[in-house]
Every structure is written in C-alpha cells, then in structure tokens.
Symmetry: C2
Subunit: 112 residues, 2 copies
C-alpha cells in the first residue's frame, strides 16, 4: 500500500494539471492530506461511494497518462543518470574546481 | 512561418500521444510530410475547410498542453544546461579520462 501511495503521489504530481478541479481536490485530500474517503465525502456532501469511484477513475487516468507520456519513468531514469554522473565527477574533480558543474547538476535535478 | 512550423513539430512530438488518431494523421501529413490542406482533404474525402478546422483546433490543443505540462520548455532548458555542462567538462577533463561521463551526458540528452 505504501508503494502504491508513493507512486500515486508522483503520478499526481506530474499529471494533476490534466485533471478536473474536483479530481484534483479529491486526490489531494486523499493522497497528500491523508483524509479518509468518509471525511472527504462529508466535506463535499456526497456519498462515500461517489468519492471512492471518482478517486479510482482518477488513478486509472493517471496510469494511462503515464503509459502515454512516461514522465515519471523518465524522471526516475534521469535521476539515476544524474546521480551516477555526480558520483563520477566527485571522484574526478575536487570541490573548488567544480563548483559550477555541481550547480548545473542541481539545476538539472530541479527541472523535473 | 518556419519558426511556427518548428515549434509545432516539437509540440506534436511531445504531445501527439494525447491526440485522437485523426488529429495525429492530419498533423503528421501537414507538418511532417508537408502535404497541403487540399491534398489531405482529397486523401480523406472531406472538405479543405474541415481539415483546416481540425488542424487549427489541434494546434490550440498542443499549445494548451504545453501551457500545462511545459515539456518543450523543459526540454530546451535541460538541453541548454547539458550543453553548458558538457562544455565545462571538456575544458576540465581530457577525453580518455572522461569517456563514461560523456556516455551519461549523451544518455541524458536522448531521454527527452
């Protein structure tokens, strides 16, 4: 369950801009704020089942976006490559010599 | 016009998976294969106006996806940073010493 939650958090992060405002709200309350389905249902004055169905559909949409655009997968690949690059450079260059290089690596990581 | 064509080619490349098959076909024939609206209309047995309207709507959709997801913008930023990094490393490391590093940089560029 924790693994699924982590994955959904990432997918939500990458694709939330493609969701409707209601989908964004439910997902954010459920996955980021850790509210229960019942608590969300109460806040929006709808049934628990309606919230559940909406979140399940949204999860499927997020997985479909990932299957098409691969943003999370590429983010992981890019991070692995950048970590590898960073380790190699640490081994070859001393810190003062390479300060600018590390700034660029940081900037690349922050781009995603 | 050339600049717009280049931009549309990139946006199409990043977001075509989010378009319908018909949108993909029209855009591909128009922007990649350089067919005229009339030629596409003839091939699909529809009016030239119908092709025009479809392509215009698709262009707007592509710009809307870019406004939300910024994939093309990030691709450009990432490439600038990688070029800068590459130039710095060329200045600091000789080629034999750094072959693995350049492989990683190439892999990062190919990820987009």
């Amino acid at each position: 369950m924790l693994e699924k939650t982590t994955r959904m958090n990432y997918l939500f992060d990458f694709y939330q801009v493609l969701l409707t405002p209601k989908q964004q709200s439910y997902m954010s309350l459920y996955y980021l704020d850790d509210l229960s389905l019942g608590e969300i249902a109460e806040e929006y004055e709808v049934s628990r089942q309606a919230v559940y169905d909406n979140i399940k559909r949204t999860e499927i949409m997020l997985e479909e976006y990932e299957k098409k655009l691969h943003l999370f997968e590429k983010f992981q690949q890019r991070n692995r490559l950048l970590d590898e690059l960073s380790a190699l450079l640490h081994a070859k260059l001393d810190k003062n010599q390479a300060e600018h290089i590390y700034h660029i690596l940081e900037a690349l990581k922050e781009l995603d």
